[in-house]
Amino acid sequence: MDDWRHGGFGLYLHWPFCAAKCPYCDFNSHVAAEIDQSRWNRAYLSEIERLGAETKGRVLNSIFFGGGTPSLMAPELVQAILDKVRATWTLANDVEITLEANPTSIESGRFRAYSEAGVNRISMGMQALNDADLKRLGRMHSAAEGRAAFDIARKHFDRVSFDLIYARQDQSLNAWKAELHEALAMAVDHFSLYQLTIEDGTAFGLRHAAGKLHGLPDDALASDMYLITQDICSSHGLPAYEISNHARPGAESRHNLVYWRYGDYLGIGPGAHGRLTLDGTRHATDTPRAPEAWLRAVEAAGNGELPREALPLSEQATEYLLFSLRLSEGMDLARYEALSGQPVDRAKLRHLEEIGMITLEQGRICPTDAGRAVLNALIVELMP
């Protein structure tokens, strides 16, 4: 059996535009004066067609519209894409179709139409629950607008998740606890809690490098915030199933699980990555990051992909390691060893267990809360 089948099969579609660029964000998102949605429509459909021909007969477990701000897509565009997807692949009975939305009023106006097009899950970028912090994060919506958009979304979708960014400037442990309790009161069965990361090349990154970004938590406080978040969410029935993602058991995002269980996923759109196994060989796929460059590639050559790379097994092993250890269900040791072709040093595992970084159960390595707080070090330790 091909290794990807352990993780399933997903489709990621990237919409690279936003109304404004947030100062912390290093996603492939751009602000454009005018967007010719019909041109995008043709390009997406052409790519679906091309990849569909390569993956005939596969069953899709998940489709994800990510961005950027996909809630700026015309509902007709979403409809056309999903029609094409349904005509191309068989969808799983429980297929998850997620769209990322920003919580402003313009966007919530389209929720109903998205739902009619087939979207069955919304992931909303709430980011903070108070106006002062939303301003500092450069967001265009207020906390009240956020809640209103969330309520509208809930009317149209069974599954609604939202994102918060914490470990923000000048945020105390207590302030975060209070905000987290508010969030828990709102949450349906899934949310994502990301610690603010200062990324190179962003506005925050530049200010940070210049020493002008004040009030960020030190590692000790950030670690305390992380650990307390785990405790609080677990006791409210929303344990972390991944570093930053919480769900009631069973309500995990299927799309996320495809990545972290290291399944196959197609990436369509500018800067979208994919992993695709064909004839027993797993490939890494990538596309041009610039929207115009991607469009041109699709239009001119009928192919928006950069040259594909076959992934050697050793690299697949590393990718499986660094994805799967993000999950609380952890990594299947036998599957990892099959990919890497060499056994993991048991003495090392025993030591990591002794110092409380992992547990070893039924052939799986599961990081503990403490282990997840230093996951990079843990992964590096386990890399051959």
Partner: protein, 599 residues
């Protein structure tokens, strides 16, 4: 061949950084020895390490032709020497090959410790000395005061010292004239049997061993059968050249001339600097006095970070030794580090230079263990053993007493900083021997243990005197003292590579300093790590390195694993540059850095 009275041979000597190599540049340039387009600053400093650090490590010789004011053209052989104390040996042997010295003194600084050390060597070698006051372009230059300073401190006549700027070229024609007029021509007998001094030798990847010689008597030609008197080895001369500074072939070299030869010699070790070269058939009757060989004074272990690289390290050391016979090596094994070499060096800079070259030129990653000087163990049964490595310290019940090497250190310092210097010397167990003044500068002479000086004394001296002090030393002998072995335990396991010999009274402060340093040098791990210093079984200092708190990527989104993977692979490669001691990884740089004190 050039007539004796048309030859001048000289070395350029000075304190470090006073501008020897820059002066050599100007002499080379003004005489058109090197085409203008090939000129670059400190041309003779050709090794990467020399260029990076801006210092001369190896003495370099150039032959230049100078049409003098008297209408005659002279052949000048100049030897640019290093200023750093570790390479004093290069200076002393260079001096044996020439008759005169240009003594360069920075006119903004005056006489410094190595000025003094080098000028005395030149006087001992019987040199005529031409003082040159350099850097007069600097606003702080005070040529008149420095003249007085030279007369005062060194006791030579400086009234004819030549003011120059090696940077701008000012005064260089005067230097060239002075070389011809004031330095003596070499002496020698063209018709006597060949007698030549082996001044230096090095390994050239294309030519094999290249030998630099100074002919005293007789004539040497390509094809001659020659004999090295000390080693008794016989060779045929394959190639005879002069250095301009690249090799230019020459038919013969006569008395007073300096050049290089190759003779299918395999290793630099087969040659002995200071040896006398003569003809196999018609040898000279008396050999030259020869030089005292350079003695390594600092020892440390060199181990490959990756144990699989041991053979590569062995090869690299052998190759480097082809070129630098002044460092020694012997195989060593360590419980934690596996196979490696115990190597001896002329000083810490020499150690760093060799380690850098091994790593760079042979693409190795090395662990350098804590450096040590050579202690003498007087055993109860009367045997005397050399201890190169504290890890080899035998059970104390067999040891009667321990001796350590001592040095005579000369320090020159503006009197504003004298107090700091005296305190530093006192802290390092020094005994004051002399204190004199020349103007506002003091000259202090201390008897110090080499072990207290070799690692970081010079750095400390520079920092407490803001760079205004200079320092030179010679080894004087061995003396008994209360020395003990201090071990370092990391995560409760002794790390041999960090053990040092230390004076009983200084053990606690050294131990404290080391564990504090190590706490900063060892990266945080996923668990906390106790770091202890101990003598025998007794812990004398302890620190705890706390566990890392947070290192995780919050969002791993859109299935883009490539960037993340690269990052972690880089971290992993970085970790592989560390060596595992028990469960703890210690970076390779830690072993020397832990010894440097900020007292």
């Amino acid at each position: 061949m050039t007539e004796l009275d048309h030859i001048r041979n000289f070395s350029i000597v000075a304190h470090i950084d006073h501008g020897k190599s820059t002066l050599a540049d100007r002499l080379i340039q003004l005489t058109g020895t090197v085409a203008e387009r090939d000129m670059k600053a400190q041309l003779l400093d050709s090794m990467d390490i020399e260029r990076e650090r801006g210092i001369t490590i190896k003495a370099n010789t150039v032959r230049i032709e100078y049409p003098a004011k008297d209408g005659q053209t002279y052949v000048l052989n100049l030897i640019d020497t290093p200023g750093h104390v570790d390479f004093a040996y290069e200076v002393s042997r260079s001096m044996q090959a020439v008759e005169g010295s240009l003594l360069v003194v920075d006119a903004s600084q005056g006489v410094e410790a190595q000025t003094l050390a080098n000028v005395y060597q030149a006087i001992d070698a019987g040199h005529e000395i031409v003082p040159v006051l350099n850097k007069i372009d600097l606003p702080a230059a005070d040529p008149e005061a420095v003249k007085a300073n030279i007369e005062d401190v060194i006791g030579i006549d400086a009234s004819d010292a030549i003011p120059i700027s090696a940077k701008s070229g000012l005064g260089i024609p005067e230097v060239l004239e002075a070389i011809v007029k004031r330095l003596p021509a070499p002496k020698g007998d063209r018709n006597a049997p060949l007698k030549a001094m082996l001044v230096d030798s090095w390994y050239d990847p294309y030519l094999g061993v290249v030998v630099m010689i100074r002919v005293m008597d007789g004539v040497i030609k390509k094809g001659d059968r020659i004999k090295m008197i000390q080693t008794g080895a016989l060779y045929g001369v394959d190639k005879l050249s002069v250095l301009k500074p690249q090799m230019v072939d020459i038919a013969e070299l006569g008395p007073g001339e300096i050049g290089v030869l190759t003779a299918s010699i395999k290793q630099v070790r087969d040659t002995r600097v200071g040896d006398t070269i003569t003809h196999e058939k018609k040898p000279c009757d008396k050999a030259l006095p020869g030089f005292k060989p350079a003695q390594p004074v600092v020892f440390c272990g060199l181990f490959p970070v990756d144990a699989n690289d041991f053979e590569d390290l062995r090869d690299a050391i052998e190759k480097l030794q082809l070129n630098d016979a002044s460092f020694s090596s012997e195989m060593e094994t360590s419980a934690a580090l596996g196979f490696g070499f115990r190597c001896g060096f002329l000083g810490l800079l020499h150690l760093e230079v060799i380690r850098d070259r091994l790593e760079r030129e042979y693409d190795l990653d090395l662990i350098t263990t804590a450096p040590s000087v050579v202690f003498k163990l007087h055993m109860k049964d009367g045997e005397v053993r050399d201890l190169h490595n504290p890890a080899d310290m035998p059970d104390l019940t067999y040891v009667d007493h321990i001796e350590e090497p001592r040095i005579k250190a000369t320090i020159m310092v503006p009197d504003d900083y004298l107090g700091d210097v005296l305190k530093l010397c006192q802290d390092r167990r020094g005994i004051q021997m002399d204190l004199t003044y020349a103007g506002s500068r003091a000259m202090v002479v201390y008897d110090l243990p080499l072990a207290e000086v070799v690692f970081d004394f010079y750095d400390r001296l520079k920092s407490v005197t803001k760079g205004y002090a200079s320092f030179d030393y010679q080894i004087t002998g061995y003396r008994e003292d209360h020395l003990v072995k201090m071990s370092i335990l990391v995560n409760d396991e002794p790390v041999d590579a960090l053990s040092i010999m230390v004076h009983r009274d200084r053990a606690e402060s050294r131990g404290r300093a080391m564990v504090e340093k190590l706490k900063d040098l060892i990266p945080r791990h996923m668990f906390k790590i106790p770091i202890q210093a101990a003598i025998g079984g007794r812990v004398i200092a302890r620190e705890t390195l706390s566990a890392m708190r947070k290192d995780v990527t919050a969002k791993c989104y859109g299935g883009d694993a490539t960037r993340k993977k690269k990052l972690l692979e880089k971290q992993k490669a970085g970790k592989k540059k560390m060596r595992q001691f028990g469960k703890v990884e210690i970076p390779q740089s830690a072993f020397i850095a832990a010894l440097k004190m900020d007292d």
